[in-house]
Amino acid sequence: MTLATHPAPGPGSPPREDPALLEIRDLHVTFERRGRAPLHAVQGIDLSIQARERFALVGESGCGKSTSILAMMGLLPANAEVRGSIRVDGVEMLACEERERRAHRWTDVAMVFQSAMNSLNPVQPLLAQIVEPMVAHAFLDRRAARARARELLGLVGIPERRADSYPHELSGGMRQRAALAMALSCDPKVLIADEPTTALDTMVQAQIFQLLRRLTEELGIAVVLVTHDLPVVMDFCDRAAVMYAGAIAECASVRELYARPRHPYTRLLLAASPDIERPDQIHPIPGVPPQLDRPVVGCRFRERCDVAIERCREQEPPLTLVGVAHEAACWHNEPPSEGAAA
């Protein structure tokens, strides 16, 4: 497949020979809150994503997945303190001034949201909206931008006669296609998609993912999908990082995650996800994630874990290599002192 043109990407550790397209090192995001303890939403994550890759950040609400991508986009509110490093194609985003960042947004990293209405202007026809970022970023002059906007509408499967429609005249699926066309307008290298199909029906969801797959294969774009929906991740992505309470619990290819999950949370998430192929096995995950306004002692998952041991109460397990390009943060993966291999 197209991935073959790139070396197999590692899960978190940077492949030294081939710099990643998107590289995140030790990312921390803390929200200062008036009259309350600060909230440590993201507590040191590392990721590296290659061109053409379809990568997922997966986890429950509040795990820090959306905060992480808003940090990548430079779209966090003023009370957020961001530390660490986010490099897109070698350029350090966190060192940029806001003006510089704005230049990278859309041209390097673009984003589509769960509700396409959030990125579309309700009182402007579609074509004009897609032209807008291209002109604003001096990517093309207005005439060329209009021609490209028509091409983009064709690419995402919006019929020509819809070019002058307003967003409210379109179905949810068509709006998400329009938001995609806009995101693609300035030829981004990375497309971040935050729950892009959660509001859509099954068949429309399948259409959108078919389109996103074509974009990675034909245009070489990397897609970072943020979702809580594990079957979608397994169906669409090459690799995924499972996030829990602000940190990465496990990161591997989706095949590895499915066949050999090495973190109890991944195992429980798999068991909690409805699967039409085996409808009889489904188990809720008891308990709730820890509060992130105080330091986490020990393993952050231990209170909901079905295999927690004494050590999990005191020491936080680091994310370690547990297989080929497979990392997990669980003490159970430590080879016992006798030296038996996992």
């Binding site: 099954t202 068949m203 039409i276 809720p284």
Partner: protein, 329 residues
Amino acid sequence: MTATAAPLVELRDVAVRYAGRSSVLGRLRHRPSTDVEAVAGITLQIRAGEMLALVGESGSGKTSTGHVAMRLVPAAAGSVHFGGADVTDAGGRGLRKLRREMQLIYQDPYEALDPRCRVRAILEEPLRIHAHQLSRAERGERIVQALTRVGMTPELFLDRYPAELSGGQRQRVAIAASLMLDPRFVVADEPVSMLDVSVRAEIMALLGSLRDSGMGVLLITHDLATAAKYADRIAVMYVGRVVEEGSTAGVVSAPQHPYTRALVSAVPRLDPERSGGIEVLAGEIPDPAHAPSGCRFHPRCPIAVEECRSLEPPLTDRGNGRSVACPRV
């Protein structure tokens, strides 16, 4: 679930129409406004102790079907039966009595609960309206029972406000509120689509336990995987019509209607190395105001022939409780 048991809820050839928007100019010219037929003649039965899943995309008419079954919207044609009685035209007192026996569980537990009321008051409200003969102590007892039934410790939750509850807990309280009057029929409209995957299973298991205790449950969902796990039977809707109905295992493992087949194939699987590709249908579900002629699915159907454009296929019995509305399969 014996075949001879009379259904708890029955829809016979029911249609639901909403008044279409007519333009000012159209009204001046006395052009009749075009009504939108959201449900176009469907027949369904739900037995006590059974969960029927109504599966379809937005615009398929599944929510309108749930509403007409509860008599929240009038039936424009056909008849609605509850407990063996024709309630199509029930009104006034009869309807009020009926409402106590049927409850609706909404998708959004954040909006279904009054943020200014404690859990106790939320659960007490239906009793004050419909069961004012109960003493205070009796009401308190019922509230404790309902909370216990949805798996919440009463002492911990009675005095909390909705804002102090997680999404899953809120949905439990909403379900407890709907149980206060001992309904015999519950319509759950996308009850878990706003919840995290870790709590979806427990809410669905709770609805399953209501079914097991003898209630009739109509589950309205676009999520075939959830329906596959919890429902006894599945009815698939497309633009106001049921295109296939049957036992859950049958519909999911051997779908017959071309739409059901495509829908089942489009559900993402957990196994990344799934066998068989996805059959992605082009186009989108048509607006019910512009439903296609003949078979409503024909413009997107991979096996449509000329006659599908003009002949509307009836839902025909294929044995083993399966019915399919397609003469080509």
